[in-house]
Amino acid sequence: AQSVTQLDSQVPVFEEAPVELRCNYSSSVSVYLFWYVQYPNQGLQLLLKYLSGSTLVKGINGFEAEFNKSQTSFHLRKPSVHISDTAEYFCAVSEGSYGKLTFGQGTILTVHP
């Protein structure tokens, strides 16, 4: 069975600082990897996805993530955050069967002025 671990439940940062949200997964087969964002009182919105090819994936709002197969990690990064990036971020892995996703526990990113 797959599992996803987000290593930080909360990450506070100051505006314009860089940020990294960490995600590790366990799977014995090829996987597809996703990062979703949830703004307050909203559903989840896709930030980026890794299906194959280049291990560095660029997403919306200036976010990017790097797939590292040897370390089974898919960390999310942004070089300079804004107040509007305050949200909860979820890492997810798909086993490819009907596209079922296994989610991590979520990381709450709070950007302070």
């Binding site: 996803v4 987000q6 439940s9 597809y32 996703f34 979703y36 009182n41 909203q42 559903g43 989840l44 919105q45 896709l46 996805k49 299906l51 979820f90 798909s94 490819g96 069967s97 009907y98 596209g99 079922k100 996703l101 296994t102 989610f103 991590g104 526990q105 979520g106």
Partner: protein, 113 residues
């Protein structure tokens, strides 16, 4: 623009009531999913459906059932609501054999008193 809608944003029900949560997607997607979201636990899959009248149990199906009579509509049923089912419920859909991203509705916050 893709859209997944859920029948209610907020719902308050009493213990023992039968509760219906409705989800509709307009993307002609084959796969639909119901999750519950609780703080610190991320999203957990309750049930999913890969075709009309087809359903599969997810990780936490106990106390829930589902119905999919039409391709665009997927209902979650709480046969006898209990206080431990107070949660945020999120519906999602995906297409293309499900290897691509899931699209989420805005969520229903259910309170059982």
């Amino acid at each position: 623009d893709v859209k997944v809608t859920q029948s209610s944003r907020y719902l308050v029900k009493r213990t023992g009531e039968k509760v219906f949560l409705e989800c509709v997607q307009d993307m002609d997607h084959e796969n639909m999913f119901w999750y519950r979201q609780d703080p610190g636990l991320g999203l957990r899959l309750i049930y999913f459906s890969y075709d009309v009248k087809m359903k599969e149990k997810g990780d936490i199906p106990e106390g829930y059932s589902v119905s999919r009579e039409k391709k665009e509509r997927f209902s979650l049923i709480l046969e006898s609501a209990s206080t431990n089912q107070t949660s945020m419920y999120l519906c999602a859909s995906s297409g293309d054999r499900g290897i691509y991203e899931q699209y989420f509705g805005p969520g229903t916050r259910l309170t059982v008193t």
